[in-house]
Symmetry: C2
Subunit: 302 residues, 2 copies
């Protein structure tokens, strides 16, 4: 089933207790697409980069079944750049640099060949750009999944609430759920957020796993306890990319299948953190993923 | 199977965002025994109170299949008293008052009728008192489960390490596991702690559930997301009381049965937080517990 991913393709420079990188490929859409492309034959991307974005990164993405027809390359401009440093606990991080560059006036343009897409993933972006992206599609997709972050709740809550009315699944972390709902209990928060539009809500809790809510149904997927988290960058995007990729592959959006999709997303994320940036995502084999999903099954059974 | 619980029977005064109590019955042994007695016909208690401890509380405990032959009542002395105030998030609390009173020189004396017990629960106490309790038993129990807290890691680490060598299951929270092992990753922490003695480790993560480790095996039991946490006092003791109570009832200490025991402990704890103090524990019915365990099953299946 056709899958369209809109978000950022960018440069990251990362520092963790294990080491640091120069500018490497990053961005929400990069992680989402790499993760989703593990499940479907092609992921269509809409994003923007500057002319400083290396050909080799684009070739790498294409080699992973990622279609870049919708990747705008702005001549004379620079790509979005984020730099961050993780604390020893790997849960907290400081942003060192944010250079919006091409992202500052990004207008998503949907290529004609992308029209009719059935699964739409809106990565973290300005809510107005997310609205524009939905409006750029002639036919509403079967499923619209959206990620966002606390930053937009602080500076663009009205726009954010407009997008929420148009999406099927919202994926945010626990602190964001509490901020958006103004309630501490995640169960109450989930009810309030589902009243804002999304029929389904995923609350990511990092090392504590992820919660899936729909109507009165709940699923709690634990995170696999890992000996070592090398670099958490992109884990949330990898998670949601695996989630929508699995749904698109199986083309079944029932709650029971969403449970499985959350597990597959969690398994993908558990690989992502094992190396710097996207490195580990490029190596995963079918056998490794099946093995990891089995570890989740063993972890949760009783 | 005979179950012996050693710990504190005390007064608590609690304040949560929902209200406050005067001195009510509290203490690790109280919660453990009330929870475990839900599963076995009798829980034998070793603890100490002052002569200020009301007859009605003792009658209440006895009516719940709790044997108080091992409860020392110190004439002219006062019972242990703790007072605390919870923050709005219910995860953090401030201790307002700690009066050790009778606990300051507690020497556990095991009644002859308690000898031969098969399941021993060491509630949070001075490590030296926990050692004395084990040494007070002529025959080593089939299973020794122990709770402790960061306080003893700060002031009595050597004694704590001595007890650890003698117990089968240690039950602590995530921050305590990190402190004891000096490692942030709970998976590495678990290995290091199991090297200190306990073959099995439970790491309690509050609203994020509980992890069970043994050799290379892991089980992650989620916590049931609740609409409202009224009072978290005693939830950890209720959890471990349900854990050992379930094991004693089924008399099966395999890892697979420990998975079920963790779920039953979690279910008991999820009731405990619904009212002040021990109140909710006194009302639980078999049907309610079975229903709650089913909710855990539904929450975790995929």
């Amino acid at each position: 089933m056709s899958l369209l991913s809109i978000g950022t393709v960018a440069f990251d420079a990362l520092e963790t207790p294990y080491g640091k990188t120069d500018k490497i490929i990053g961005g929400s859409c990069t992680y989402i697409a790499l993760s989703a492309a593990f499940f479907v034959p092609q992921v269509n991307v809409v994003a923007v980069v500057g002319d400083d974005f290396p050909e080799e990164y684009m070739d790498m993405l294409k080699s992973k079944n990622i279609n870049l027809d919708g990747l705008q390359i702005k001549e004379g401009e620079k790509s979005f750049f984020w730099s961050g440093k993780y604390h020893n606990n790997m849960n907290d991080r400081d942003t060192l640099i944010t250079e919006l560059n091409v992202l500052a006036d990004f207008q998503p343009a949907i290529p004609t060949s992308y029209q009719g897409c059935e699964y739409l993933m809106l990565g973290n972006l300005t809510p107005q750009v997310q609205i524009d992206a939905i409006n750029g599609l002639a036919k509403r997709p079967k499923l619209v999944v959206m990620d966002t972050m606390n930053f937009w709740m602080n500076v663009a809550m009205d726009d954010l609430k407009k997008v929420l009315k148009q999406v099927d699944v919202l994926c945010i972390n626990d602190e964001e759920a509490r901020q958006l709902s103004e309630h501490y209990s995640l169960r109450v928060a989930a009810k309030r957020i589902m009243d804002m539009g999304p029929k389904t809500l995923i609350i990511k809790k990092g090392e504590h796993g992820a919660l899936l809510f729909q109507e009165n149904k709940m699923f709690y997927c634990p995170a696999l306890p890992l000996e070592e988290v090398f670099d958490p960058t992109g884990a949330g995007d990898t998670f949601v990319g695996g989630f929508i990729g699995y749904l698109a592959k199986t083309d079944d959006i029932s709650f029971d299948n969403m449970r499985k999709a959350v597990v597959h997303g969690s398994a993908m994320a558990s690989f992502c953190v094992e190396k710097f940036g996207t490195e580990r995502l490029l190596e995963i084999t079918e056998e490794e993923l099946a093995g990891r999903v089995n570890e989740f099954r063993e972890l949760a059974r009783f």
